[in-house]
Symmetry: C2
Subunit: 169 residues, 2 copies
């Protein structure tokens, strides 16, 4: 049973993963997986652009690492902490891996599959239904994403101004 302090600690680790992504120019999303004894057995950050691979989301990397660590595809009684609501692919992987608890930070109104667009965890016919805890470090997780996209827009604006300037020269 994870304490309230434990949960904060693991979400902070997921945020650290997200910051690692950001430093490398990736959209800042991070995840960690914790076994029932509180040991971190998987971690990952979004590497879609770095690896040029559509499946390289933070959760997928963390799940693969946790499966390898345990030597089994069932991550029974494990918890996943992720800074952003999982997309359908990651929510599906969470179901496939039988993860027990999913803690996430920011909502994803465009692709969220844990309630925002659809709720895959609530589909009765599926053979596993993780428990979902929303909004842990929501503001911090969300702010990281906002800052990242604002910086991109500013960079694009600056590039455009420079291009317009050089055309006038």
């Amino acid at each position: 049973m994870l304490s309230s302090d434990d949960k904060k600690k693991y979400m902070q680790l997921a945020i650290e993963q997200a910051k690692t992504a950001e430093k490398q120019g990736e959209v800042p999303i991070g995840a960690v997986i914790v076994d029932p004894d509180g040991q971190v057995i998987g971690k990952g950050y979004n590497r879609r652009e770095l690896d040029e691979d559509a499946t390289q989301h933070a959760e997928m990397i963390a799940i693969k690492e946790a499966c390898k660590h345990l030597g089994m595809w069932r991550l029974i009684d494990c918890s996943l902490f992720v800074t952003l609501e999982p997309c359908p692919m990651c929510a599906g992987a969470i179901i496939n891996a039988r993860i027990k608890d999913v803690y996430f930070g920011a909502l994803d109104p465009k692709a969220g599959a844990a309630g925002s667009v659809i709720d895959l965890f609530a589909v009765e016919k599926f053979n596993h239904h993780p428990r979902v805890i929303r909004g842990l470090f929501k503001e911090q997780s969300s702010q990281m994403l906002k800052d990242f996209f604002r910086a991109i827009r500013q960079k694009q604006k600056l590039t455009k101004l420079q291009q317009d300037g050089s055309q006038k020269d």
Copy 2:
């Protein structure tokens, strides 16, 4: 534009992948990805048990291989052929990779995310909507799975009979 013969050829390749899985004791599911010129750029078969990894479905392996081949995470104008209706994880990965056309064989009434349980490809809010062509080599794809599970049940029955016999001795 793929011809009718092309489509059959690629689905046969997916079935061959499924048979490779079966030979290794895996549930027989196979997939291939074809670029707009008809070149096979990714293939995969279910390796969940072999790799002890919940994410190692046929489609995921094929998508990863195709991304690597093209050096980009967008598999624009590519087609995926798979023997079984994709699960939510794989349907989500297909959306994330922007795959254009999805051909599948057998329906999956327990976990199918292309119409059987839910239809992720029809969710309006998502930013990509692959075209889905159902039922190509449906019987063959379905029969492979039925034969596989029948063989498993027979093996389990035989083992039980042997155990009961040895207890009576």
